[in-house]
Symmetry: C2
Subunit: 200 residues, 2 copies
Amino acid sequence: MTDNVVRHEGRVSPEARERASGQKGALVWLTGLSASGKSTIARQAEEILFNRGVWTYVLDGDNLRHGLNSDLGFGQADRVENVRRVGEAARLFADAGLVVFVALISPYRADRERVRTLFGAGRFMEVYVKCPLSACEERDPKGLYVRARAGEIAEFTGLDSPYEEPDAPELALDTMALDIGDCAAKIVGMLEERGIVRGS
Amino acid sequence: MTDNVVRHEGRVSPEARERASGQKGALVWLTGLSASGKSTIARQAEEILFNRGVWTYVLDGDNLRHGLNSDLGFGQADRVENVRRVGEAARLFADAGLVVFVALISPYRADRERVRTLFGAGRFMEVYVKCPLSACEERDPKGLYVRARAGEIAEFTGLDSPYEEPDAPELALDTMALDIGDCAAKIVGMLEERGIVRGS
């Protein structure tokens, strides 16, 4: 960044947006293994909130690979950049006043913590979608684990690439004990408790 | 993009969002020389819409350079990538149902047209913020033209780097004849005529 770029302040402040909408801009970051259920849970939570009139959006790691991050591969540096950009995009959505969900494996603690620093206190919530590798591999809805085991995909998280569990996530969802609806309801409950959205 | 990324469909469709909100997701892309008034006009239009209850957001080229695009410089390839990412970020906002504004010099026709292809018919509106170089240079609110003339900034659009005017913008704003309020009102009028937002 050179210094010939001036930062513009918006005329419509985040506070004005929040007063008008009754919701706070915030990010719910779902991390976990492939096939742990991150996207499904995020979309279920989104639907609950949408039906209450809350403005939400899901930034899905897979979908972003078709657009914003289509120039990135799966090597170490590109994975870091992938997480960085998703975090920055999410920050824009939160700034616009939305409750934004990110569903992204995001295996490295440091990458996730870097995103957290972009957000004000209480506006970043890490949700660990916890599911044993064996169960993810058994579900394997996209057939990715089979292909990774066959050597067709290298550096697959949980197999030959590490997944670093969150130390102190705002919420941990045990997907072996809870169904999708329970998980989504827990997220919505967290958002209510933290004053991000109003109770139903 | 490798083929081990599956595209997820959202549970909340864009159509459902539009039915609920009474507004359509769309992008208003303001292009023009530095100091032509792009950001100021966009923020004025945003304020008008916000006061009507429309969900909007301004993606400002300068601000994005501090976040999403902070890794990019000002060389030719990085400028192309800058425009591409802003376009992709705007697409996400429009998909979320917002009326999103982009204020970005975006000097090359080809780059702007590439963004247009990301959007459905009628969802991308190019607005040419027209201001003679001499007037921009006289305003020079950030002192950038002075620095560029002094050789401190290379490849400055309008000086030693070209600006390609839009061939057929959805709207052209002559900032020598119209004040900021007029320009913003014309944009809002365009959005009403095109059915993106309801009339006041």
